[in-house]
Symmetry: D2
Subunit: 358 residues, 4 copies
């Protein structure tokens, strides 16, 4: 089968590989809409090590083409939403509970573009179909569902780790697609003042639509100072959804005593972050620091689809670019890589989705 | 000074009492708007024991007329929002943390119409002014603020105790003023399907405006069966905001395994509730039961006002009747007692609020 | 194969059944030591419905005799500790997190003597071997390990649900084998005053050895009054590990405001418990009620074995009677049923355990 | 009155100051036993800024000599245990709940040697006596009680922030007096393997007595590597109770995915800590970082005294040196500063404690 991916670091292209096999509890899915993500281009550029001959992509909705003998809830032809994190539920890490992200090793529940080929192919493999796949919920479009599998799940997880409570002042650092979801997720938890940090006009627009009350930009001065002035000394909760080596220090400095910094940002393995003790309150003022990535499993996606359905949250607002046709995965990934100023999130319709959302 | 209250059980009227004294950390406040509550009429009818010669009322915004020598943050003339629960912060119960409701004894932080006279008087006393009073937040009307001091705080506490999470199916039993706030509070926490149980048309209307997706009425059959059918076997979280001896049994039966029942209902001391083990899953299925009343202190109210200000939540939607003039407290309380079909919540403007919200 | 069980309600005996089959992720185990439990006799007497032709027993350590093709961590010959709760990890209930007890339906992770035959047979089936079985830890005897699979796990879960904190006053109602484990578990969490309620001398003796500071007996008066006097009005945490229809009411009356009642007791489906609102503080004083049964999975057992190994907790102190030989399962179960005054917990060695603990 | 303290940074000596005044809710106490702490010498050396003319010391048990008019629970002559953290309970930071350490500003509940003179004087002032002082519990010696006010409370708080659960593998970095208490506190929470990092023989001895199962020393190689080898890749929980700029990086590297690092260490305001993203799992593996100092208030101390009384935990084992007489505070503080190899914790008996513990 064909798939778009990387021959090696910084060497992308169309790969020809064997169609994956299907274990007794597993499924084979063909994608119907996929969305490239900065994690894909990050992998392409070597950010997760020297991967070779690997199909990219980890955000998809699709149609089941084969299921293992033990699968009970799905059959070929079913339209399914595929979490980007698909745990091996028999791994003992599951039993530690935290977000089911670390099944047999740290970060192990993230299979696509990691221990398995990605979804930008004619077919892809999903472990433990009954626990990882889910049907599209009524009242939710395929595009909205597609945005749950990583963007919304990750952004909302930032809000959950930050433990946003009624009336809390919340800062979201970075208002790309994940940060925008954190903004929307914080509004949906009853945050009070909700400050997004970013500059790009279309991101700012969506941030405000999702509930941001203030936008802070580095173009108008030091962002820490701006936030500290707006908040009278620091926010209750700060969510990191982007940034470089100084971002943790900045986040800590924006956080009040007893507050929480929650990061869903992927940091480069070679980096050492700045960590000034003063911003941390000398380790004395109960500023918690939490971090993690997108939780795994079907129930997570079902819950998020219920938020879309019943709260009217439109997760597809972050889709800024649309491509049509299997071959366009290449263009979409290149767009993702180029990070044009108007880009938030591209999607690629593989076909016309006959009946998918019906 | 004059105040409206009870000479004895079921014997209401205008009382003449000494103006309360002011301790070194305390304040004396004159009310500007008050709201009678079913707890007031409940007390009048003996529901909290044989009270005598007690001024009623515990929901007020007002103006400070005197402060103790140690008070730092308030001065005479300040317009203030007064939590209905005003803890003695030096009571050791505070240090146990849970909602600051039990300062020196169970339920002890609730002072008005309990250990002190209520707010339906020319003046009332507030212990520990710096920790219990708060200024009106910008962007919040006095009426909205008045609704925070008990209704919104109590209803939202039901949601907090229930630990409503993204996409949870939530049932609110009883859509009087507190239940309506629980509906609004659950929507503001990102609930999924959100079912209100009630019948009165204007309550149903506000419930839908606050985010209820379904209304269930006992007029259309057994409410437990209706909820179980709508939810496929039980809701994640059930909040009790009204009901009689069977309400806990019904709530448990509506709750799925691993779900939570949270009650903010005041139960009569003489009652024994039905508690069928079957509805409780034989004590084996992790249905938690939590209960409590309105949390105390100024920060609580500040947080709720921030929800109003920044999330656009209009807490004044539950105000169904308006009276004007000090003398009208009597009519308002009688209305509260009569529970006319169109009643949700009455308020009494003592005067014209010159500059109050400015 | 042979197994001891029930032909029908109140009709026990030796059953001849097919040896169970082994799925791709599963294992077949032969027991080496088993322990009958009151849940077995409870089932025999119809307490979990009209079961027929079912082998009893759910507490065992044993030897693997067969594994499915996908099992990675176990092979025939391995000596294993078998949790009494063995979830189907692909059930969506797992993803709700709470103790992994409700995999595909309420209470569903409890397979033995429920949806599958029990362990008192020549062979028994274990679903998802890699996630449910565990090897015996170094420094732990097979007998101690056997006591982890239900008794210690359940009793300790009572302590966990009660959220026992440093210095908390804790009451354990019922000091049979599970209650004794709750006593030991509370001591191991740093409880302060620790009150066991019971009368049987050998249970009292073990309770004191496990850390009880006081023993209260119904023979010396009303237990609620005794506890309230000892605790100055109520304990912080009360754990129910036995009792009838009045036990929840008693537990609530023994609990102080902001305290927690946690039950690991199995209540009869036909019962309605007493639930006086006064004991519950009228629903106003934040007395939480939690309940559930033994958590599932291998990690749980590994953690408990580490408590035994590193804290020197001897879980085998509750073993009061020892039988030897497969045939003696019948006598052991009858002893369990007779509840002789000196009984705490019987075990049956199937054979001589050659090398089991080596 | 006289007191031992600092004229200015690095300039210690005996100060003559006015006896402090007593507010209406406050008390004046004369110390009976005091314990110098490294925070005192740290302040002396300028670690908390350019303090001048300040009496040192923040750990004391003593006798009440005066109380304000509103104090209900204490009278002159009462022997009292004085938490080192004595919040102003009317500060709004209290209402945020976390450990009551930040009353009106970050770190504000820590009054002694910060916003008020310390306890190494003839008299010292305690704000809000009813909420901050406590009587000595029966069965607890004055020396044991003295060790609760900072050492035990702080060390145990490390364990609480780390959320140590049954069977968790725990590392305590630094086995000085606070670290030793963290070791004891972890054992009292049912930790599994419990590794102390340190070298001094008498500290190692007490660590083992308090429940450490392993001692790791930098003298035998890289401590991170040693811990990772002992724990098979990382501990569940790591508590920092000492260390320099690299200690957070080391702690993170010792922690497994989904684990927690909890610090009770005071870091120098001028420092920037090493924070390699690799040790943090690139921000992807749910390693939480928490930090804070000793919680405040009387209930905390009462709970800890109950642990001593009912669990037989001897907090006085860390007392390595004893001085007698008011004048010896100077020697004790110098000893604290010299950090002799055999030092754990010195105490100074001001007098003969007639009847103190009676």
């Amino acid at each position: 089968m064909r798939g778009y991916g990387m021959f090696s670091v910084n060497n992308p292209g169309w790969l020809e590989k064997e169609r994956p096999g299907c274990g007794p509890y597993d499924a084979i899915v063909t994608p119907r809409i996929v969305a490239p993500c900065s994690s894909d281009t990050h992998s392409l550029h070597g950010g997760s090590g020297p991967k070779e001959n690997m199909i990219l992509g980890h955000e998809a909705v699709g149609t089941v083409v084969e299921v293992g003998a033990e699968v009970k809830g799905f059959k070929p032809g079913d339209f399914v939403v595929v979490p980007c994190v698909t745990p091996d539920w028999l791994g003992l890490g599951i039993q530690h509970g935290k977000s089911f992200s670390h099944d047999r090793r740290p970060f192990g529940s993230f299979k696509f573009i990691s221990s398995e080929d990605g979804v930008m192919a004619e077919f892809f493999h999903v472990i433990h179909a009954d626990a990882n796949l889910t049907h599209l919920a009524e009242g939710v479009t395929p595009e909205q569902a597609l945005m749950t599998v990583d963007m919304m799940s990750t952004g909302f997880y930032g809000v959950e780790m930050a433990d946003v409570r009624y009336g809390d002042t919340v800062v979201v650092i970075g208002i790309g697609p994940v940060g925008l979801m954190a903004v929307g997720g914080a509004a949906l938890r009853g945050a009070g003042r909700l400050i997004g940090i970013g500059t790009r006009p279309n991101c700012v627009k969506v941030a405000r639509e999702y509930g941001a009350t203030d936008i802070v930009s580095y173009k108008e001065g030091d962002v820490v100072e701006q936030v500290r002035e707006l908040t009278g000394g620091g926010a209750d909760k700060v969510i990191i959804a982007g940034g470089g080596k100084d971002i943790l220090a900045q986040a800590l400095a924006m956080t009040r005593e007893m507050g929480t910094v929650a990061s869903v940002n992927y940091f480069d393995a070679a980096d050492t972050l700045a960590f000034p003790t003063l911003a941390w309150g000398l380790g004395m003022v109960n500023k918690d620091i939490r971090s993690g990535f997108c939780p795994g499993g079907a129930v997570r996606i079902q819950k998020l689809m219920d938020v879309i359905r019943y709260r009217g949250f439109d997760s597809s607002k972050i889709i800024s670019h649309t491509f049509r046709g299997f071959e366009k995965m290449e263009d979409a990934l290149k767009l993702m890589d180029s990070k044009t100023p108007d880009l938030i999130k591209p999607v690629v319709y593989i076909d016309d989705l006959p009946g998918a959302a019906a």
